[in-house]
Structures are given as structure tokens and as C-alpha cells.
């Protein structure tokens, strides 16, 4: 029996450095139903979305005009905490707007991971050397504590660290 795919999707997020002070993040979606591209531009260091746009190529043509208007609502939103709540709240929570909101979120994640990549480029390659590097990263940004399995109690990376603000020292 041929195991044919009944649904398939590719999603790519690419972040381009337009200048040392400006990033453009583009999310391109192509699946059996849709093809669309959404992009944002953010300045550094402010990270507030200054420009946003889309090209809806297949499956969303009927809503193209509305989509453009809805996307403009995210101008001024800062790439940072709370995006999963803010973006659907501004763009829409139901199909097809939820997909557009998610594409903007993916663009924002791309910006965040671009900054993360820069930080990680300094981490030593060998596990025994990198352990202290990551432990120091959690000490410096205590909010990372317990944010994932690697930084949860029991991990060697958080040995000896107190939970955030337990002593009111923040």
C-alpha cells in the first residue's frame, strides 16, 4: 500500500539584516491549501514592529485586502513577551486570521532567535566547558530558571541556584 501524504506543509522563517540597526523577518508558508508570505521590519535596539506586510498567493486571495489592514494593527508592538496573546488579539483568533497572526508570531520568534544565536555563538563547544557558560546565562537572566527541561530543577545548569525572586532580591 502506498503511504501517500494526506497533508503536507513547509514553513520557512528567514531573518535578514537590512542594516546594523534593522532586521526584516519573513515567514513563508506553503501547504496543500495555502501559500502566503508575511514580513515584519524591526529596528534595533527598540524591537518595535515598524513595518509589516503580506503577500497571499493561494487560498487567501479573497481576504487579501482585509489581511493587509489587520496586519497594520501590529505596528508598534514590541517583539518580546506577551506576543501569543497580543497578536491574535489584534489580528483575529479565528480562521483565516489565526494563521496570519501565527505567521507574524513566527517572524517575531525569528527576530528573537537571531539575537539568541548571537549570544550562543560565544558558548564553548565542549559540554564540560559550556556548562558554566549556560549556568552563568541563567544566573544573569534568572527568569530562564525552570523555563524548560534544561533549566529546570535537577539540571546541572541550575545547581545551587534559587528560584527567581524567592528572596525578593530582584
Amino acid at each position: 500500500m502506498a503511504h501517500l501524504l494526506c497533508f503536507s506543509r513547509c514553513r520557512t522563517t528567514a531573518v535578514e539584516e537590512l542594516s546594523p540597526q534593522r532586521l526584516r523577518s519573513t515567514c513563508h508558508l506553503i501547504d496543500h491549501r495555502l501559500e502566503a508570505r508575511v514580513w515584519i521590519e524591526v529596528p534595533l535596539p527598540g524591537l518595535e514592529i515598524e513595518a509589516v506586510g503580506c503577500r497571499l498567493e493561494r487560498g487567501l486571495e479573497e481576504v487579501a485586502e482585509q489581511a493587509e489592514a489587520r496586519l497594520q494593527k501590529v505596528r508598534g508592538v514590541r517583539v518580546g513577551p506577551g506576543l501569543r496573546k497580543i497578536l491574535p488579539g489584534l489580528i483575529g483568533r479565528r480562521p483565516p486570521w489565526d494563521e496570519l497572526a501565527f505567521m507574524v508570531e513566527e517572524c517575531c520568534q525569528g527576530v528573537i532567535l537571531t539575537l539568541t544565536r548571537r549570544e550562543l555563538a560565544r558558548a564553548p563547544l565542549q559540554p564540560e566547558d559550556s556548562r558554566e557558560h549556560f549556568a552563568e546565562m541563567v544566573r544573569k537572566n534568572i527568569r530562564l530558571y525552570n523555563r524548560c527541561a534544561a533549566f529546570a530543577p535537577g539540571s546541572s545548569l541550575v545547581e545551587g541556584l534559587e528560584p527567581p525572586q524567592a528572596d525578593g532580591s530582584a
Binding site: L4, E16, V77, P127, C148, Q165
Partner: protein, 377 residues
């Protein structure tokens, strides 16, 4: 020149038992991982889940893999499914596995809809959902403080020893993210010697009568506030008798607060600004102070226990540049966090009208209450 690239690929098939099998592959400059998800067609629950790392960052990232199984049993049709995945997989295991799992599950839902002839559900007519509210027309949005309604202007009795209020407290179940009840919060606040607390549950307005009754029952000052999510971030609002649903712009909220004669504080204004690489972007306080949102708020929260010390310090620097007052609040989500930070007022406050009057009058400051009182727990 590309600074970062992420590719995700998901394919969905059906096995001999009719289950949907999604295989996902995520590959970017930092991580590479695969996921296989089996979904039961009868109830759309995750029947099996297996993930593998191909590349990762920290030596302890592999701990995430065994925790993925906690997502088994979740229903893709649960309205809260996305949040559950972020909580169960994203927080406990790894957010990149959570991201790929959500992508896989969305593809399964679309495959199911196609098999059942329900594809239109994903493509309703354009007018099916009204667009979110628009911002009011441009124009002056901030009324001078002196034009506020007269009832808020009042003399308040001095409090020479200081009057300590935790201006930012969450309770369960009003805030889904909180784990302590109001009763537990109040008991702890009384124990550590706070003079009162302000309820700032997320987009939740407590009924005045209910809070008055609790104030009597607990013999403790409980004030009503609200933490409202706007497109420009979270805002603490006092004196606004209105439920706000959904996401509003800060301009819209400013109008509402002005009309009510209330007070608006930017909550944890730099939360997340200085994490993982963000602190090296070189954002100066003078530059940060030019962010448009700061022209629309009355004060900045400069002490909050959910942000880093650097972010609190930066907020205080920006408040100074702006010449705006700074407030303190614990942002407590459980009883033991109440009073980590508070605001010390020079006057006594007995109700919400007093609070707004005191906030407008100034002369208060943010304090690390528990530390000042020598309390550690």
C-alpha cells in the same frame, strides 16, 4: 545577508488503524529536531509522541525528550489546546518541540477536515469575524492631570511611618496563571505587615460590592485595580470601572482612563528587554524613554518581582529621564510572593478614590518591602 533561517516540514499520513501520523522536522541555525505524532481519529487526542534531537545548545537539552510523553492524551479539539501544549511541552520540556508539535497538530487537523469534508471551517467567508476594534481617531489623547473629575481630588491624612501598598497582586481563579486564592494572599499580606493590596487580575474587574465585603470580612484594605493587556504591553489601571475584553491599543485605554479620571501605569515596562542577547543591543535610557507608549502613561512600575534586577533598574532610569513617578508591586501569583515589592505612600489610603488621589499627588516610592522588613519567606 541572512542572519537566521528556520525551516519546518510536516507530512501527514494515515496508518493501518486509521490514525493520523504527522512527522515533523525543524531545522534552524540553532536547533534541529524531529517529532512523530499519532492522533486518534475518533476523539482527536494525541495517542503517541516521540521526539529526537539532532542538534541542540545546552548539555541538558536532552532532558526534554522523555518529558514529551506528557502531551499524550491532549485533545487537538480542546479550545485551550495551544496553551496546554505551551505549558506541558513548552515550559516543562522545550519550546522548540512545542512549536513543532503545534505545527504537526495543525496539519493533522487540516488533514482531518479534508477527510471529513470540513475544509471550509478553515476558510470562512471574509466577513465571518468582525475585525478587532480600531483605535480612536488621532488627536490629543492625554488630558492634563488637573482636568480630572473633581471627586478624585481630595486631601489625605499623612502617614509619617509610610503607608505600604502592594499595587500588583494576582489571585486564583480570577487570573488563570495565579495559584493562590484571595484568602491566602490576604493572610500572607497581613502576616508580613502590608497596609493593603491592590487586585490587578488580568483583564478582570472585581465587583465593588464583593471586594467591600471581603475588606470587612478580612479586616484588611483590599483595593480594586486591573492589569490590562494592550498592544503596547501590560498596563496597571486604577479607577476604571469597565471590563476590557480582548486587546486594545494604549491610545484607546488612555481615552477610557481619562474619561474615568483614573490612573495608568506601565507594568514591568522592560520585561524581557534584557534577556539572551537583548542586553547587548545597547539600548540607552534616553532612547528607551522616547518609546511612544511613555507619552501615554502616568507612571512606570520600576519594581516588579517577575523581571530581572537589571530590567527593574533600567525602568527606574527611564522613569527618571521621563520625570514620571515609579511604583512597586510584587506581581504576586502565589501567596509567598506578596510584598516582595510595594509602594510606600506618604498618606493613608482607605479606598480606590484615595488611591488615585495619592497616585496623582506623588511623593511615593517603590520599595523592596520584604527585604526592608527583614522578611525572607
Amino acid at each position: 545577508m541572512l542572519a537566521y533561517l528556520r525551516s519546518k516540514r510536516v507530512g501527514v499520513t494515515r496508518d493501518e488503524e486509521g490514525r493520523y501520523l504527522a512527522r515533523g522536522f525543524l531545522d534552524d541555525d540553532i536547533y534541529s529536531l524531529t517529532l512523530e505524532v499519532a492522533v486518534s481519529p475518533e476523539d482527536a487526542t494525541i495517542a503517541a509522541l516521540e521526539g529526537h534531537w539532532l542538534r541542540y545548545t545546552t548539555p541538558d537539552c536532552p532532558r526534554a525528550v522523555s518529558l514529551l510523553a506528557e502531551a499524550v492524551g491532549l485533545s487537538l479539539k480542546d479550545p485551550d489546546f495551544v496553551n496546554r501544549v505551551h505549558k506541558v511541552v513548552g515550559r516543562r520540556a522545550c519550546r522548540h518541540f512545542a512549536n513543532l508539535l503545534l505545527e504537526c497538530c495543525d496539519c493533522v487537523l487540516r488533514a482531518m477536515a479534508a477527510a471529513e469534508g470540513r475544509e471550509a471551517e478553515f476558510h470562512p467567508a471574509p466577513a465571518a469575524e468582525p475585525p478587532p476594534a480600531s483605535a480612536p481617531a488621532a488627536g490629543p489623547v492625554r488630558a492634563p492631570a488637573s482636568t480630572g473629575p473633581a471627586p478624585w481630588e481630595r486631601e489625605l491624612p499623612p502617614a509619617p511611618q509610610g503607608f505600604y501598598l502592594d499595587l500588583h497582586v494576582h489571585t486564583a481563579p480570577a487570573s488563570p496563571c495565579a495559584s493562590s486564592s484571595l484568602e491566602e494572599i490576604v493572610a500572607e499580606a497581613k502576616r508580613i505587615g502590608l497596609d493593603g493590596i491592590c487586585l490587578a487580575d488580568h483583564n478582570h474587574l472585581w465587583p465593588a460590592a464583593a471586594v467591600a465585603e471581603m475588606r470587612r470580612r478580612y479586616d484588611f484594605l483590599i483595593l480594586r485595580g486591573n492589569e490590562i493587556t494592550t498592544a503596547q504591553g501590560d498596563m496597571l489601571v486604577f479607577g476604571l470601572e469597565q471590563d476590557i475584553e480582548g486587546i486594545v491599543t494604549l491610545e484607546e485605554l488612555r481615552h477610557l482612563v481619562d474619561d474615568a479620571g483614573g490612573f495608568l501605569i506601565a507594568a514591568h515596562p522592560f520585561r524581557g528587554f534584557l534577556v539572551v542577547g537583548g542586553d547587548e543591543l545597547g539600548l540607552a535610557a534616553e532612547e528607551a524613554a522616547r518609546r511612544p507608549l511613555f507619552s501615554l502613561v502616568d507612571a512606570l512600575e520600576v519594581m516588579n518581582s517577575k523581571v530581572t534586577p537589571n530590567e527593574n533598574r533600567f525602568a527606574a532610569q527611564v522613569a527618571q529621564v521621563l520625570g514620571l513617578p515609579g511604583t512597586g508591586g510584587s506581581d504576586a501569583h502565589q501567596a509567598e510572593e506578596v510584598g516582595l515589592f510595594a509602594t510606600r505612600f506618604p498618606v493613608r489610603i482607605d479606598d480606590e478614590r484615595d488611591l488615585v488621589a495619592a497616585l496623582r499627588r506623588g511623593g511615593y516610592r517603590a520599595v523592596a518591602f520584604r527585604r526592608e522588613k527583614g522578611l525572607t519567606g
